[in-house]
């Protein structure tokens, strides 16, 4: 029977992650801004899942979370899905090959993933207008990257300190 092979726990995990993204984007994103610096929780979740569970999970969650973000700006529907799918896959592959035990190196991966995500997104968004891209990267993405990777490192620290395996 096909449904005997289905991992229901993974489906529930995935649904919870998507619910978290929806709740965050609709209710919490503004209140969790720190001095107007945005926390990119959707991207953090993609990178976190890719680092914890590997490339396959990373790309699937990247796609689904990307689509959820894209529906808020329908003109570029698919763009976030594309970028986050690739990021989930890339980070998942790195996790399996590179030495990523240190929390700081995970933080660095989150930071670089966010910069890469914004670089590609705003390149398409602005029609490769370098001044717009640089402005966004320097005035928004870098700070957002620091904030998001800080929260990410905290999440990894809690996970490792308390041996949490819930949801991920």
């Amino acid at each position: 029977m096909i449904w005997k092979n289905i991992d229901y726990l993974k489906i529930i995990n995935g649904a919870l992650v998507l619910l978290l993204v929806v709740v965050f984007e609709s209710l919490l994103s503004d209140s969790l801004r720190l001095a107007n610096v945005k926390l990119d929780l959707p991207l953090l979740l993609v990178v976190y899942i890719a680092l914890v569970r590997g490339a396959k999970e990373g790309l699937i969650h990247g796609f689904l979370i990307g689509v959820l973000i894209d529906v808020l700006t329908p003109y570029f529907l698919g763009l976030n899905a594309l970028i986050k799918t690739l990021l989930g896959y890339l980070v998942g592959n790195f996790r399996e090959t590179l030495f990523l035990e240190s929390i700081y190196s995970k933080g660095l991966v989150i930071f670089l993933a966010l910069i890469l995500n914004d670089l590609i997104y705003y390149a398409v968004y602005s029609g490769v207008d370098f001044s717009t891209m640089l402005e966004v990267i320097f005035f928004s993405s870098v700070l957002s990257g620091v904030y998001t990777s800080g929260i990410g490192m905290l999440a990894f620290f809690i996970r490792e300190r308390f041996k949490l395996r819930i949801a991920f």
Binding site: S26, A55, F63, A81
Partner: protein
Amino acid sequence: MNRPWLKSVTFRKIQQLVFFVLLAFLLLILPQQQKLFISGSILKYTYLPFFKFSQKIKRLTNVYDENKKLQKENVRLILENLRLKEEGLENERLRSLLDFKSQVDYRVIPAEVVALEPNRKSNSILISVGQADGVSKYLPVINMQGLVGKVIEVYPRNSLVELLLDPDCRVAALVQRSRIHGIIRPQKGSSLSLENVPSGEDVTYGDEIISSGLGGVFPPALRIGTVVKSEDPKPSIFKHVLVQPSADFNSLEELFVIEVIRKE
């Protein structure tokens, strides 16, 4: 060359990657109409309930803030009321000391505008109360904004009210702040003028004009309007004071005929 990260790249993973990348790319190249349809459908079942919830929370927060503001206003009004009551009692004591005989109270008769008087170019109106309701000639008529006019004809169930805008209407008035007396007369359009105010008197823009009670028809302290222009034309010995009426004569609906009851 040794590339350890390539070792983990399997054919199955590449297949999955290609599948999801193609799916995302397909979404990206869809016509705008279909993108909107897909986004709308997903939004409806994902974000919309949370957006609605968020709006409700915001509305509740607004109600809470408004409530706080009203509570403050309420306390301020209670205190003001207490102060006015005290001053009223003090006034009563002083009046009794000075042996002042009369104090005023009002009987209020609610009325509605029934019709405009066609012969008098809308400077008079017919109201829904008359002799049967206790209305008599020359009683003042007000609305929530201020003085409207006076009753000039009384019928069994209706009355004719002469508006402040009628060329024949005059009201003894004073500037509330500086207590300068004058006579209110209608001007062209729907404004009024305060006349017989000597040049150099203290009347400025924004001053409230109220009835003075002199003349016997209108009781004191009924709001008439606000000064919108005050100037001293050189050859004249009187000021030119233009007053914007408090009552909006283009939308008169609910009115009150008031009768002054003098207490002994």
